[in-house]
Symmetry: C2
Subunit: 284 residues, 2 copies
């Protein structure tokens, strides 16, 4: 039997890899260099499933993923993975024994920024070196015989054989990142943890940029008592002043309520696209 | 007379630097390594003005800037700079004469992703190397005698003496980035271009996570015919299920309408904070 193949935004040791390892078992996993390359590979059938960041303060921005899914290819969202951001201080234990040994800290600029308070208070004299990813920083530390450290996650530590010298050095405890699971073959998506709920994501384009139009759109959800967990406006890129909205509803697409919303909005002249109806998985 | 000092998210040759150069004249300019460091320096009075990305597909994410402004320090937003994303292919003209000479392309992963189609069609055989910023990529190319290229903006080309071999290689023509101008001393902010309009940004926290609450909030804007140019929901980080909303209104804070919205929302139990009322500057 052919193994299911899962593509993700690489390199190894990033938060996307951590999300993939926590949710899928022994399938074939392949790292992609950019979000568009990963999405293209799913669309062309080169891989069965793709996992890309949607809201992620490290490897990617929601813009790139959302824009590519909306403007270039349409692949159903079949799941969402929510991962807490936990940054650790990673070292080679044969070289660094205590914090004060550390002369240089390597990481992605966003990870450095997320640990701003910790670095300021504990490693004030260490130099900062920026890398293209947290995984890359761990690789550099593992290959160096200098007293340096990386900031990265647990996956990076085990991938590159580094010791976690200090856990959870990030400034905000309740920070999460979201990843989308994309596939044309939802039957192949077998996630090992239990879903904590369902979500439907809609893309709504307004007929014109008028005051109160969004309010009118939300009425269609409000009077049905549908709870929205996220709403975001984004420019359509076809010109200035044209916006569309991405709305997450806290339930699966059903037979009555959501089709009712869709019909009502279309009658108002909106374009409505269902980007996906899917389960949400929390990684603790 | 002491020169006004402007801090920005560096290094040189990034899109933030381009925004700063296009809007400010000969003031003292200082690059900061991270968004929090730049914001802290404004707050402590070490610099007069700070410029940081708000929506930017390259150097930063809206999350980092918004989170830091909301949770750590409160500095008034005194202006917004809108810059089109224009990516160019940069080379040393003494080494590379034509596209087919190029063996390797260096840039930030987001810039590489933004030029996905171009690279696929024109530089399919070139290797890709990721750097921590587009400015860093330009620096690498300027210091190398190998046939390599960087993807970056016009500021990076002039900063590092590179030739623009091919202009506008990005996939989407209508992509823009937004930068915030932060200062405790708005009288020092002298922007050389003319403002194209005004904006007020509000931060609204809901009393509880209930269906239709957002709809109720938007009613306060809708019946006053106030046009919203952006709305985004963000977790408060004090726990799961708690959201606040960031809303941009297309006008300056006035004496009647916006104070009316604020009073009405507060009566409903919302917390309302005005993050700033400011002018918007377009860079062409």
């Amino acid at each position: 039997m052919k193994l299911t193949s899962i593509g993700y935004l690489g390199p190894k040791g990033t938060f996307t890899k951590l999300a993939v390892d926590a949710t899928f078992n022994g399938e074939h996993k392949e790292a992609f260099k950019t979000i568009p390359e990963c999405i293209d590979a799913v669309d062309k059938g080169e891989i069965d499933i793709g996992v890309v960041p949607l809201e992620n303060a490290i490897e990617g921005t929601v813009q790139l993923t959302v824009d590519y899914l909306i403007h270039q290819v349409r692949i159903p969202v079949v799941g969402e993975i929510v991962v807490p951001i936990q940054q650790h201080l990673l070292v080679r234990s044969d070289i660094v024994q205590k914090e004060s040994d550390i002369e240089e800290v390597h990481s992605h600029s966003h990870a450095i920024a997320q640990c701003h308070q910790y670095l300021h208070q504990n490693l004030h004299n260490a130099k900062i070196a920026f890398t293209s990813s947290t995984g890359k920083a761990a690789e550099i530390v593992s290959n160096s015989d200098q007293p340096i450290a990386a900031i990265g996650n647990r996956a990076a530590a085990s991938e590159y054989g580094l010791e976690i010298m200090k856990e959870n050095i990030h400034d905000y405890p309740n920070n999460h990142t979201r990843f989308l699971v994309l596939s044309h073959q939802p039957e192949k998506v077998k996630i090992k943890s239990e879903a904590k709920g369902d979500k439907t994501t809609l893309l709504i384009t307004l007929p014109s940029d008028q005051a109160g139009a969004l309010h009118q759109i939300l009425s269609a959800f409000a009077w049905r008592k549908l709870n929205l967990s996220k709403i975001e406006s984004r420019p359509t890129k076809t010109g200035l002043g044209n916006y569309f909205f991405i709305i997450d509803v806290n339930q699966a697409y059903d037979d009555v309520l959501l089709p009712g919303v869709k019909a009502e909005l279309e009658a108002l002249g909106c374009q409505v696209t269902i980007l996906g109806s899917y389960s949400v998985y929390d990684i603790l």
